[in-house]
Amino acid sequence: MDETTIAQKAIKGDEEAFIDLLHIHKESLLRTAFAFLKNEHDVLEALQETTYRAFKKIHTLKEPSYAKTWLIRIMINYCQDQLKKDKRLVRSGNEIDSSVSDNLTQIELQEALSALSPNDQKLIHMKYFQDIKIKEIAAIEKIPEGTVKSRLHKTLRMLRKYFEDKGEIDHV
């Protein structure tokens, strides 16, 4: 059975198919979560929550072939919610699992990404980390393709500006 057929069955309420669908995409989902959450415990909780939200909403998924993107979107939304909640608590640095952010460039990039708006972060994740096509992002986010393209362009420009400003500071 191919991915789309499995997704179709899951949409119709087939529980086995739903579990299969989650298994097919669990690796992508875990990697997405790691990009945001850093430690294994939080990542697993995020996967549990994504499963929970997806099962409740699976009937609203219209295009079975977009199931992966749809799941990733739920995951990103959850991760962004968590990060916002965490901001209110003071976080100690050593809580962060060093397996993800162990060199300076990566840390810098993560800083730059976290300075973006949640919506721009989402686009970057879908496009650059999950290789999702613009057309599919547009369909899932319900915005025109042209808007996705121009927002990605704007976001890259912001990243460049961030690094340029940062570079100046570093050289002082």
């Binding site: 996967l47 099962f55 121009s150």
Partner: protein, 444 residues
């Protein structure tokens, strides 16, 4: 172009790939999430009966309230006289269709609120028709709103409602009262809808001064929609030798949809209608529903639906559909061809206004000559295919304002090992048909 920034992103992606994943625990997490969702579903089923009853009670209350307001003589006179409506005046005054809706009592006050902490979301009222729903809402914060953004928005009837577009303003708090924010959500349904059950829920996820608020407000709409009117036009018009078919005009209270298709044997490709509008016998105009650019959806049969402001409540003696600025280019000019290995523009519209300034396998930069008076509020690229006809994914596309007589474009593409040259279909281009469209639309 943004190779450096993109390289950083790709490096990070590869880095993420090396993180060891807890695959076994992941299976447990999936099963736990599923069990929790299933448990909750069982509980909701048991509760549903009770909820229905309390909703019916609320519906009765709202109905009474509406009837009371109705008899008030101030209510019908003008938009601003509706309690709490003054703050929306600015948002609707440029849309004649919306203004008419208020004059004709088609706006339905709701007044449902939800308070999280000390922050309150109020659904002031809605306008519902078969094509969509406009939701007027207010957010009140105990502290000054420095920034607010909408992260996610879902409208549910019995299920989530599919939409082709959801629009809301780029949120900015009011200057005079920075603790209050008002806006209109414009939700366009994917297909015209008739509702039997008029209870809805708006789920609105907002970030306000960096705090997240997940509002979920159920509300019941007192009155059902007025029926939309559809005219099967099946009219053919010829402009500058090009055949355009006006197939159908549907008049909803919130918007007018005009369904159009084109003769496949046209010698020119029609790209955009810049000023499609409805005009009555006195020259009064109902223009496009969005500022500047008409919303449109390309359906599978090559039909396009354009949305205009609505004349639903007006009864002009005569009504015309008019278009003066029709963007079009010769079929062979409806694309340009770039070779990103040899850095040359192999083909472009014969007016010679496009030039390639820079290129490599991950993107290219171009300029487009513009006259002083010309405007072009669009990006020009639609889709890109390689020499084998494979679709190449665009990564980003930006177009500048006019600067020293030129617009500057910057397009990033996926280098999946594609074969040059690349063909880029035009989405828009500043070249127009000679001639205009004016056709009469039947009126009731």
């Amino acid at each position: 172009m943004y190779e450096k920034e993109e390289q950083k992103l790709y490096d990070f992606k590869n880095h993420l790939k090396q993180v060891p994943l807890p695959m076994t625990q992941a299976d447990n997490a999936i099963m736990q999430g599923l069990e929790r969702a299933k448990r909750e579903k069982m509980q909701t089923r048991a509760k549903r009966k009770q909820t229905l009853w309390s909703m019916a009670a609320v519906a009765l209350l709202i109905l009474t309230l509406v009837t009371t307001i109705r008899v008030s003589p101030t209510f019908a006179s003008a938009v601003a006289s509706i309690p709490g409506m003054d703050k929306f005046v600015e948002l609707i005054q440029n849309d004649k269709g919306l203004t008419a809706i208020f004059k004709n009592d088609y706006y339905q006050p709701i007044g449902e609120t939800q308070t999280i902490g000390h922050t309150t979301l109020t659904i002031d009222g809605v306008i519902l028709d078969e094509s969509g729903m406009n939701i007027f809402y207010t957010i009140e914060s105990p502290i000054e709103i420095n920034n607010i953004s909408i992260e996610n928005l879902v409208l549910l009837n019995q299920h989530e409602l599919d939409s082709t577009s959801v629009s809301y303003s780029s949120p900015l708090p009011e200057e005079e009262s920075p603790k209050i924010y008002t806006d209109i959500i414009k939700y366009t349904f994917e297909e015209p809808k008739n509702f039997e059950d008029l209870s809805f829920t708006l789920e609105l996820k907002t970030t306000l001064n960096d705090n997240q608020f997940d509002f979920s407000v159920p509300f019941i709409i007192p009155e059902n929609t007025k029926p939309s009117i559809t005219y099967e036009m099946e009219k053919e018009v010829e402009v500058d030798g090009q055949k355009i078919f006006i197939e159908q005009v549907t008049i909803h209270p919130l918007r007018v949809g005009v369904k159009i298709s084109f003769d496949p044997t046209n010698t020119k490709k029609i790209l955009q209608f810049e000023d499609m509008r409805l005009e009555d016998e006195n020259g009064e105009i109902w223009s496009s529903a969005t500022n500047g650019i008409s919303s449109s959806n390309l359906t599978e049969d090559g039909e396009v639906i354009y949305y205009l402001q609505s004349n639903y409540f007006e009864k002009p003696k005569q009504l015309y559909l008019r278009i003066d600025k029709i963007q079009a280019v010769d079929q062979e000019d409806s694309y340009f061809i770039v070779d990103t290995d040899q850095h040359i523009l192999l083909h472009s519209p014969k007016d010679g206004r496009l030039a390639l300034t820079d290129s490599n396998r991950s993107g290219f930069k171009m300029t487009l000559k513009m006259d002083l008076a010309e405007e072009l509020p669009y990006g020009i690229d639609r889709q890109i295919t390689d020499a084998n006809g494979e679709l190449i994914d665009t990564r980003y596309s930006g177009i500048s304002d006019v600067y020293e007589g030129k617009k500057f474009m910057d397009i990033g593409i996926e280098d999946n090992g594609y074969i040059n040259p690349l063909k880029v279909d035009l989405f828009a281009y500043p070249n127009y048909l000679k001639g205009t469209v004016k056709i009469e639309i039947p009126t009731k």
